[in-house]
């Protein structure tokens, strides 16, 4: 690379012994290559490992119905997180009309809802059921961040909803 052979003896063939005087200098180029390669490797591996923290603020539990926030039916979207990374969602307050989706497709559903609803009315209710995982919950909270949803709540599904989910799961054979 850095050292160019100016004179190249063309006589050398296979089996011909070199008669050149050996210089004591060693070509350090490969060594430098190796050094920088290692540096690059270390830099890349160290910076990536930094864990980040996602803020989660939960509301205070309250039994006082006066403090309950009313949610407009037209603006609500309920996402129920079920077993096997499946999301069941419905608009308004009729869980029997729920539909099924996954974690990739849910963004479009949220965005569509966001577009078709006045910002003040939009409210997303997240209901992770007993079989949902922590990853599911974090993913969906992350989705709220990504889609810039201002108002959302995380609550438990009602027994009725849980029954519906289980029925759907049994019908669909989700394990």
């Amino acid at each position: 690379m850095a050292e160019m052979e100016v004179k190249e003896s063309s006589k050398k063939g296979p089996g011909v012994k070199k008669s050149k005087k050996h210089s004591t200098r060693v070509d350090l180029t490969p060594m430098v290559d190796l050094g920088f390669l290692l540096i690059t490797f270390f830099i890349f591996t160290t910076t990536v490992q930094q864990p980040t923290a996602m803020n989660l603020n939960m509301p205070k539990d309250t039994k006082d119905p006066k403090l309950d926030m009313p949610v407009k039916q037209s603006g609500s979207l309920t996402l129920m997180l079920g077993k096997g990374n499946v999301i069941y969602y419905y608009f308004g307050n009729d869980p029997t009309k729920m539909q099924t989706t996954g974690y990739k497709a849910v963004r479009q559903i949220i965005l569509d809802k966001k577009k078709s609803t006045p910002a003040a009315d939009l409210f997303i209710i997240i209901k992770p059921d007993k079989d949902a995982t922590y990853k599911n919950a974090v993913d969906i909270l992350d989705e709220m961040d990504i889609n810039d949803i201002g108002k959302y709540a995380m609550v438990d599904p009602t027994p009725e909803e849980y029954g519906l989910i289980q029925k759907t799961e049994q019908a669909g054979g989700v394990k």
């Binding site: 180029t29 980040t52 996602m54 939960m58 205070k60 007993k130 992350d142």
Partner: protein, 220 residues
């Protein structure tokens, strides 16, 4: 006037200084790097778009392993106070040896009634028996995590404490909820969920918002 002789320069460059620099840098980076201590409980954290670095000071870390066991560790600085406080609240007495062991221990992985035996274990013993340790009970009947959190809060006497929750991808939601409930019972509502950083998806609302903030130079 004698004309300066133009030497025929060799194209060979001496690589020695370059090599020196490369290895000097390499040595520097290796020595300067902080190695992550080997984690006793292996946890694969989910990823999020959050770019906030997890706090490393004054923390109380609740780790949930993939088999839904809850472990607790905290900033070594506050350990002694927390144990004192816990002893007061639960009418338990800890010897100087217990305290020393507690400060050495990476985490707590047993109910309170087994705490002393657990603290007496050597790190190697803990490591080999990690799968059989029961974890801190968080069910509603006996939520000991609540006691730990309360001890930590009282030990800090109102000073800021960062609550880190580090859960595995496979943790079932009810366990996570039980942990949250333990915090809620102590009137703590702000948590940091430890996650891996993820790129904000291009074209999403947050992406546009960040872009706007960059352009206008203001931050909300």
């Amino acid at each position: 006037m004698a004309r300066a002789k133009i030497k025929r320069g060799s194209t060979a460059v001496d690589m020695t200084p370059m090599c020196d620099v490369a290895f000097l840098l390499l040595t520097f980076f290796i020595l300067a790097a902080q190695f992550k201590p080997q984690e006793a409980v292996e946890v694969v954290t989910p990823s999020s778009v959050s770019n906030k670095v997890a706090p490393e000071k004054d923390f109380l870390n609740v780790t949930i392993s993939k088999d839904n066991k809850v472990y607790l560790n905290m900033d070594p600085k506050i350990k002694e106070d927390v144990l004192d406080e816990l002893g007061k609240e639960r009418n338990m007495s800890f010897s100087a040896q217990d305290k020393k062991n507690f400060e050495m221990a990476d985490f707590v992985a047993v109910p309170l009634n087994q705490l002393k035996q657990f603290l007496a274990l050597t790190p190697e013993q803990v490591k080999s028996s990690i799968a059989s340790l029961p974890g801190i009970p968080v069910d509603s009947a006996n939520n000991e995590l609540k006691a730990w959190i309360s001890a930590a809060i009282n030990a800090r006497m109102g000073e800021q404490l960062n609550f880190l929750i580090k859960g595995d991808d496979a943790v079932k939601y009810p366990t996570f909820k039980a942990v949250i409930d333990a915090f809620k019972a102590n009137d703590q509502y702000k948590y940091n969920l430890v996650t891996n950083a993820k790129q904000v998806p291009e074209g999403s609302e947050l992406y546009k918002k960040n872009l706007m903030e960059q352009r206008t130079g203001k931050k909300e």
